[in-house]
Symmetry: C3
């Protein structure tokens, strides 16, 4: 699809400088702009690119003063960054606007499917599953028996949702993520083997949650593993059985939360962080990447690092000390020599 | 399905106190019990909930003495915990009791499929593959050429098993796990590029193994990557080519075992642990979470921690020392000052 | 398929010693050889097995001098190891030589599919997607709209490629890997919730790249996440949005690269390594397993370890010092006692 500078300007409530009829069909960074593309300038750091960009249209702030000739058509708006964000979102909405039911797909006769949905080929919707309005179930996705899925939900290709799980409105789950697999629970036998403990709970994901590609969220042994509303989870993250992740918490790639741990709201968990089981993590706690958390936190909003974890400042200081350890050992050896001399001279 | 207190009591060889005809259709924790649900009381810590629970039926020990009025119907048994475990298992068995072959699925004419199996829609069973009796192959699962699968095996939705791999009886594999992908083997060329080394071995998984969601087990370069019987592997675990994992070993989430390493039996490997290649790990070794193992272990049944790893006790002690490092540096500086003074005063 | 010693010898330009008509149908390590299998002897460490192996045929070097009777037929060649590698590759090529389009599969009428391809059952090829000649798309694989796939590409079962991504010639991607999922980008709101930042870029994978099972490569916010030619990526690796991985770099299992980081060519990144965002890693940098990289590197070809990372030698030395910390504390305490004595005796 092509849009002219005039059309875009109308949409953004802006004013056009230059050729109002020039047309674009893609978005680009200003330093990578080519003819037919639309860019924006918000960060003064990138200002020099305005005069050399190959983009056909650039969105800039109303009050921006030019320092030279510009070949692109300009659209002036109140806030170039937020105007461009609006376009990004519109672009994506148009791009991902699929509806209809592709064939072959499998929709059990007892499943309830809302209006205006997309169900891709080779998608599976099991007995008594419910899918809300405007939801998109991409190809090769599996929705097991009795799963409930809200409105405006997107499950990208290859997501697997085990039986009885519940997903709220506006949830987005990326390819390969697994929701509701069995918790890791086994009881040891005298002969060293293990008996599986049946995992009969489920997973509840509240509204506005996003979960990244190939992440896993295990079902509860009994009750629910709960992801509260607004939580954002990156790729390859492990959430074990009976965990509860508090509202608006953010979890970066490859982090893992062990069984029955409760994470407070607004926490920030860095990449590859590991949090042990049966802990309580207080609201707003922040863990830097690779932190190992082996006990509950008490204070809110504190920063942590290291494995086992320490207050971030203490950890960083200790790490500087560690680098100086060879030097410290030498200083101690020198002291020992001097003391020995003093003794002998006594 | 609904069951009355009387029916359940008969099954558990118990005795009913209260309304024998009250019916339940789900299981719940005693503190979360609602009308229509069945709970149990085993841990005295939860005793107070017995008197307030909304559950319709509670299973308790024969010899438990009531301290007040209870509204739920009680079923008294020898051991409330193990009686409840029996019910959990029965519940799950009924819940997951699927059989039959859904359409469309792909079963190659040369594949051999046992009796009483479930093969879900969009599942693929390749040429010369064998599936034993009572096995369940969930939708969107891929079983390549010449794969052998035993009896009572469960492959949840989206499991991928590459050609020539062998799975024993009672194996359970969760969604998205990949069995038999190529080992990571490349030979460097003088120009900096790499040549792939063909990986022509397979993976052998013995009986009673469980493997978690999105875990990966690579095929051997030649010979077999072997998971011995009774091994339990959590989610997002990486097992590299030619690894052997000993009987009844347990591996927690996001741990990784590098190529050709042999893990002894009854080991316990914590979350996010990394074990380097070509090592031998002795029987019963225990690694705490995030441990980094860069050499073989000799002693059996020992606990380890840290990266690179140390005996767990040494590691924990060293970590306390690390926290005190800034203090230690100050003490050394103080000593240096005092020694200088002593020198000057001499 | 069966091959005689004579046929194999012809292929390898070798000479046969023993029964030229003995036939084999599989490859085996010399110590695991059984009748009907073909082995090789290159490493003198395994020499003893030549005299006891059950293999029917063994490939050995031309100049190898026997020290006893051998029951296997021998094929003598210039270089036993490279001769065997040739066979390995041929074996695998024959083994994986699938072509044709299985049914049911989904190929959009606007998709362009080259000649001599394999498209497995339940594979999905979206609108305007292009698949080059001789490529293999295994069952249950998903190729979204506008994806471009080169020649001789192999996508194993269950790979997911999001819209607009580009894969060069000879790329191999293993089961469950996800290419082009959304980058992890969110803008905070005053109420603590987050707004999704649309991710409209793509992923470009150049020729001769291999990506392991269940790894994830996120699409760029704008522009491209780029994997340069010859890069080899193991299982369960996370590559975040706008990352660029330089030519011939090798990344081991469970490593993670955060957003916008540029990795130089010929780097070697160990298992479970984490690299923070917006960094530049110089050419040939080597990171040992579990390293945590929190700043850019300047020097080329250097080895690093630890978290936060240090030059590998410094890290290993510091680690030795850490083990001696309890001892060092004792030495300091001893010094303090002696100094106090000296003071008192003054």
């Amino acid at each position: 699809m092509q849009f002219t500078a005039q059309q875009i300007s109308l949409l953004l409530n802006g004013t056009v400088e230059g050729d109002a009829l020039v047309a674009v069909d893609k978005l680009a960074k200003i330093e990578e702009g080519t003819p037919g593309s639309l860019s924006f300038l918000a960060n003064p750091k990138y200002e020099q690119h305005l005069y050399t960009t190959g983009a056909s249209i650039v969105i800039i702030n109303k009050d921006y003063v030019l320092n030279g000739p510009v070949s692109a058509t300009l659209i002036r708006v109140d806030n170039a960054y937020s105007a461009f964000s609006v376009l990004l979102e519109q672009y994506n909405t148009i791009k991902l606007n699929k509806t209809g039911i592709e064939q072959p797909s499998f929709i059990h006769p007892t499943a309830k499917v809302g209006s205006n949905v997309f169900i891709g080929a080779f998608a599976y919707v099991g007995p008594n599953a419910t899918i809300g309005d405007n939801s998109k179930i991409y190809p090769n996705t599996y929705i097991a028996d009795n799963v409930t899925i809200g409105n405006n939900v997107t499950l990208f290709s290859g997501v697997k949702v085990y039986f009885d799980c519940v997903l709220g409105d506006n949830v987005i789950i990326h390819s390969g993520a697994v929701i509701g697999s069995d918790g890791f629970g086994f009881a040891p036998n005298p002969d060293g083997s293990y008996n599986k403990i049946s995992q009969i709970g489920n997973v509840v994901i509240e509204e506005n949650v996003e979960i990244g590609a190939n992440s896993t969220v295990d079902r509860a042994t009994m009750g629910s593993t709960i992801i509260r509303k607004g939580v954002k989870i990156d790729n390859l993250v492990q959430i074990a059985h009976n965990v509860e992740v508090g509202q608006n918490t953010v979890i970066a790639g490859q982090a893992g939360i062990s069984g029955s741990t409760k994470i407070g709201e607004q926490a920030v968990i860095g990449g590859q962080v590991g949090i042990a089981g049966h802990l309580t993590i207080s609201k707003g706690s922040q863990f830097s990447a690779q932190t190992g958390v082996n006990s509950s936190t008490r204070e809110e909003g504190k920063q942590w690092g290291g494995s086992p974890y320490l207050p971030l400042k203490d950890y960083l200081r200790a790490h500087v000390n560690i680098r100086r350890l060879p030097e410290l050992e030498k200083r101690v050896a020198e002291l020992e020599k001097m003391i020995a001399e003093l003794h002998n001279n006594k």
